[in-house]
């Protein structure tokens, strides 16, 4: 096996062979989950703490379930309501937690780079569950696994990522992962929601869905966060849906067998038409949720192996 990382902070620092290793293992876990096979021994004795400094239901549940399926002792900490409100700095929170010797730390934070900062201060392995608009690596990995299972490969595909790219960590992690695996990436967004300098990332940039979706294999929709309306990024939800919402007419520009993805939670009628989201022939949105658990199981399994190996090496040295 080849997965060398100590933490999973982002896709940026993963090599293609590490991604493949992780996806192969996740693929097995996905099958086993369907068969109801249990793996309670894999993370037995491992303590997993989920620290969410930002609201999350789906991702936190997915990490919790993944840990429990592998036999870890899982603890959830709702950081929004806790010490941060009392003025404790992130570093102090990290040091306090580190003193409790957690093995796996799953962290979500509203600031880009905050999870990297925290990872510098702890002994366990850190998994980034989303840091600001920076990265969300397990989402990109679960998207990759979903694509691989639907399309039979994860290379030389034409993939469109559509919507609020500027504020999306999902988009950044996906651009990096799909780029590393040699796919053709097309970004579609109103110019106000397209980050600057994107053409330097080796992607194609489009301002209309009709052009951008031309002959793509995969259509990845992003959630439009309602709070963006206040920032004056788009004129109204209805105009956004008209120009950038995925409906049957726009989807016709993609390949006939193109799949439709969405990281959830969806705004039906804003970025995606309900009938497309529910179309079992096109939409793989439910599969994404299923793959999420499998990918997180694989990620924690691999990180725990590296952690145990490192600890063993330390003991031998001592």
């Amino acid at each position: 096996m080849s997965f060398r990382a100590r933490h999973l902070l982002g896709i940026e620092h993963l090599a293609p062979d590490e991604i493949t290793t992780l996806l192969d293992l996740a693929d097995q876990y996905a099958d086993h989950n369907r068969q109801g096979r249990s793996h309670k021994d894999v993370l037995a004795g491992i303590t997993q703490i989920n620290m969410f400094f930002e609201n999350s239901t789906r991702t936190q549940a997915s990490f919790e379930l993944a840990g429990k399926r592998l036999g870890a002792d899982v603890m959830n900490m709702a950081m929004q309501a806790s010490s941060i409100k009392k003025g404790e700095t992130l570093i102090d929170t990290a040091l306090t937690l580190n003193a409790m010797h957690p093995d796996l730390l799953v962290v979500r934070h509203p600031n880009s780079g905050a999870v990297d900062l925290l990872a510098q201060k702890v002994n366990g392995a850190v998994l980034n569950a989303g840091d600001g608009p920076h990265e969300h690596p397990t989402q990109a990995l679960l998207d990759a696994l979903t694509i691989r299972r639907a399309k039979g490969r994860l290379h030389r595909l034409s993939i469109a990522i559509c919507g609020d790219i500027a504020h999306s960590r999902v988009a950044r992690s996906n651009i990096m992962l799909l780029g590393k695996m040699e796919n053709r990436i097309r970004l579609i967004a109103p110019p106000t929601l397209m980050p600057s300098g994107m053409s330097e990332f080796g992607v194609e940039v489009f301002e209309t869905m009709e052009q951008g979706l031309q002959d793509v294999d995969v259509v990845m929709m992003l959630r439009l966060q309602k709070e963006r309306m206040d920032g004056g990024f788009i004129p109204s939800e209805r105009e956004y849906f008209h120009r950038y919402g995925l409906d049957a007419a726009k989807l016709r520009h993609a390949k006939d067998d193109a799949i439709v993805m969405h990281p959830g939670p969806m705004n039906r009628g804003v970025e995606i038409d309900g009938t497309i989201a529910d179309d079992i022939n096109r939409s793989v949105i439910q599969t994404q949720v299923e793959m999420g658990v499998a990918v997180r199981m694989a990620a924690m399994d691999l990180l725990a192996r590296n952690l145990r190996a490192a600890r063993k090496a330390e003991t031998v040295m001592a």
Partner: protein, 427 residues
Amino acid sequence: MTKTLFTNARLIRAVALTDNPGAMLIEGDSIAEVYDDTHPTVKDAQIIDCGGMCLAPGIIDIGVKISEPGERHKESFRSAGRAAAAGGVTTIVTRPDTLPAIDTPETLEFVERRASQDAPVNVLPMAALTKGRNGREMTEIGFLQDAGAVAFTDCDRVVTNTKVFSRALTYARSLDALVIGHVQEPGLSDGAAVTSGKFASLRGLPGVSPMAERMGLDRDIGLLEMTGAKYHIDQITTARALPALERAKRNGIDITAGVGIHHLTLNEFDVADYRTFFKLKPPLRSEDDRLAVVQAVADGLIDIICSMHTPQDEESKRLPYEEAASGAVGLETLLPAALRLYHEGLIDLPRLFRALSLNPAQRLGLRGGRMRPGHPADLVLFDPDAPFVLDRSTLLSKSKNTPFDGARMQGKVLGTWVAGQEVSGRL
């Protein structure tokens, strides 16, 4: 009067733009004579053999933040003064963005008293342009000037109300007072942590277009045409602002511009994995901008190089990037960092000292910056080539927030003289 003769020196002269061997005699607190001969004969003089090293006018650093009053744990007059002496800075021009702001003659007197007690180098204070730096009412510019304020600035806060700003500029003009401004269009730059572009997008950090600086400059040029005030821009950091600056100067507007040393030697990619010691205001720019600004200094379009010395404690830097404080210390690293430009062949030593010493002296109406008889004996002796690796724990500033920690640098200060007295040195 005591006489000191510096023999065997390499004289860096910013007025004549020469870099020649020679010698210099100082008597009391002034320069008495400058010689082309490296070993002139002078009776009764104490001799300092410079060993062929560079002797230049001491650096005059406009815009140094000393955290007194308010945050003395970050920097005091004593620590900043020692750092300045070690860095070859003979005059510190202090910023008024303290807690509280220096906006009354009384607070200004506090600064002057503390400085004269504790700092081994010259300290000249600036005062706020508006009360509390809030951009609403102008300060007592006349009283403050009488009390010794050498310039008026709200530092990194832009006076957004143009009516208030135009009145303050008009009033300052009647007193021939220098106003120093920060040119950033405030709406566009609101909330930004880095310069927009590939790096900002990669890191998921809020960015500001470099255009915000040009827009801020354009606005201020309009106000200067209107009021005729004497104006200095603290930092010009982007290529796009340069043509507007050049045009304004050509049109006879009384405008000069500075740039911080970090913008001359680092670019946006140095932030790398969210290194908050590289968080500055304005943020670091692209490499193209950096090179354009270096060229503008060499050409004399940008007049002044400063350290933008801004002490921050560890707590205010060890935070997620967006939340971390801006600024870096620079008094001790200003000269070796500036010498990077010299070693890269981008600028020669006389032009470097024109920007570090002569131009700031001229802009503030000081007699420093010149190596001529009768001028103050504020001098720095340095080895431009001596290599070292910077260890931030050795800095004399109370705060150690330098982006150059672990960096390979060249150039060591061998001695600093203020009014003929040696204030630090390794000779």
